[in-house]
């Protein structure tokens, strides 16, 4: 501290030891200046920039030569975005103390970088333009300008405040709140910022304003408030949740809701899916069944066809094999002819083979024309001898009352020689004596017809009358 009169260094006395002038009051003024400077420094260190400005300006009012206060004031202005004000203070500071003054560095920092200086100038111009728009009621344009300003200089507190004011005017409370929070981060105790914040928070949470007396304590003591993006989260602490019954009740309700959702939404869909699956499987099985049924039908038809073919082939085979007697008859005739050719006198063998040609009633034997011709020709040769052969055997059997043996031989005898009336007569008598009166009558009638006027005919008439009388 130096004397204002002579420039001597002052001692602890209240007078100047150089010139003797009273410096008591002067010292107090200097002390006050320093005190305000210290206060400003404390406030600046906690970012109470507005408060720091007030204190530092007060300090400079007491002592304009307080270089530290002036430099600090310039710094505070610069931090708040008031670059020109900061430059003014630093320039004044430099003029008051040209040497060993940190203000030189501050001024050089700004002025040497011309682009930065231009940017700062443009920022200020845009801010002033935005303010003009506000006066002209062109608030949209003002908002646009202010956003540009803040993009260049994010720490410009006045721009933030003006933008917040515009948002408040159009009731964009969230945006206004955001801008004011940025302000408060730069300058914590700015009165304007705090006033706007109060208004905005009141609009964002109106019920708290109405119940201020009751809720104020709650907000002050029992809540945790923090910012999460664009939202303000207010979380009550020390809030005792009712446990026990409430938890069980909530659990029960949740369970019921879950079951209801599953029953009405999930289960029908699953049932539908299951049904669809079953239907598709059923469809597949039905298709397979139909295919197999078709295959079975086809195979049955094949079986039937093959069976018919087999039967036809069997018939053909049988016809070739002679089960109906045709082949057997052909063999018999061949053998008979063969025997005759070998030994014409062996009539017994010939007769035996010829018996194979005989067919029973009901047999449907097919004989070829060649066979018929051969048989006819052969019988022409052997019929008389065969007739005699069979008549001899038949008559001998008749005479010995062996009617069972007599009948077939006498039949054969008459067949091979239909002029042999005796064979026919004895045949009728054989039938009569064996009790076959119907056959006897038939034979007798034939004798009467074929051999009329003979003794055989007369005897046949007699026997026929007897038979009729018996019936």
């Amino acid at each position: 501290m130096i004397c204002y009169n002579c420039g001597c260094r002052l001692s602890e006395h209240d007078f100047c030891t150089g010139c003797g002038v009273d410096v008591g009051l002067y010292k107090k003024i200097i002390y006050m200046s320093n005190r305000y400077y210290n206060d400003g420094l404390d406030k600046a260190s906690v970012r109470d920039l507005s408060g720091a400005i007030v204190s530092l300006r007060q300090s400079l009012k007491f002592n304009k030569n307080n270089i530290d206060a002036r430099n600090l004031l310039g710094l505070v202005y610069f931090e708040m975005g008031e670059t020109v004000a900061a430059l003014s203070e630093w320039v004044i500071s430099k003029n008051l103390r040209p040497k060993k003054n940190i203000a030189d560095d501050y001024i050089d920092m700004i002025q040497t970088n011309q682009s930065r200086l231009d940017a700062i100038n443009q920022t200020i111009k845009k801010y002033n333009q935005a303010l003009l728009y506000c006066y002209q009621d062109s608030q949209d344009l003002a908002v646009i300008q202010l956003k540009k300003v803040l993009s260049y200089n994010p720490k410009y507190v006045k721009a933030h405040q003006l933008l917040a004011l515009l948002y408040i005017n159009i009731e964009e409370w969230e945006k206004a709140h955001r801008e004011l929070l940025k302000c408060s981060q730069i300058d914590t105790n700015n009165t304007t910022t705090l006033r706007y914040l109060k208004e905005v928070e009141h609009m964002l949470m109106p019920e708290e304003g109405e119940k201020a007396t009751n809720k104020k304590k709650l907000f002050s003591d029992d809540v945790i408030r923090y910012q999460s993006g664009n939202e303000t989260i207010i979380q009550p602490i020390n809030m005792n949740e009712r446990k026990g019954v409430t938890s069980l009740l909530n659990l029960g309700i949740g369970l019921i809701i879950g079951i209801a959702i599953a029953w009405f939404l999930i289960l029908p869909a699953q049932i539908q899916n299951a049904k669809a699956g079953i239907n598709s499987e059923l469809r597949v099985v039905s298709e397979q069944s139909d295919a197999k049924t078709a295959t079975i039908d086809e195979l049955n038809q094949k079986v039937q066809s093959l069976t018919d073919t087999n039967a036809t082939l069997k018939e053909e085979l049988q016809s070739y094999q002679g089960t109906d007697g045709a082949l057997k008859a052909t063999d018999g005739l061949m053998m008979a002819v063969s025997t005759y050719l070998a030994n014409p006198e062996d009539i017994e063998t010939i007769a035996l083979y010829m018996e194979s040609l005989e067919t029973e009633e009901g047999d449907n034997v097919t004989r070829t024309a060649s066979f018929e011709t051969l048989e006819s020709s052969f019988l022409t040769l052997v019929s008389p001898r065969l007739a005699t052969h069979y008549y001899d055997i038949g008559y001998a059997s008749y005479r010995s009352d062996d009617y069972e043996n007599a009948i077939p031989n006498l039949e054969r005898a008459y067949r091979y020689d239909n002029t042999n009336g005796d064979a026919l007569f004895y045949l009728g008598t054989s039938y009569r004596r064996t009790g076959d009166n119907a056959k006897a009558k038939e034979i007798y009638a034939q004798v009467i017809d074929d051999f009329p006027g003979t003794e055989k005919a007369r005897n046949s008439e007699t026997y026929l009358a007897e038979i009729n009388n018996e019936n």
Partner: protein
């Protein structure tokens, strides 16, 4: 409730770089010490 017009009146245009020189020149740097010195200087002739 904030009155937009009233609040707007509190906002003043900022000094541009071109205006800095004039602002510095117009700055009144009189402080308490200067006032005290003037007062002392004024009182001295009266005593004499």
């Amino acid at each position: 409730m904030i009155d937009f017009e009233e609040e707007l009146k509190k906002f003043h245009p900022s000094l541009e770089v071109e205006d800095a020189e004039e602002a510095i020149y117009n700055e009144d740097l009189t402080d308490m010490a200067d006032i005290l010195i003037k007062m002392v200087a004024k009182a001295k002739p009266e005593e004499e």
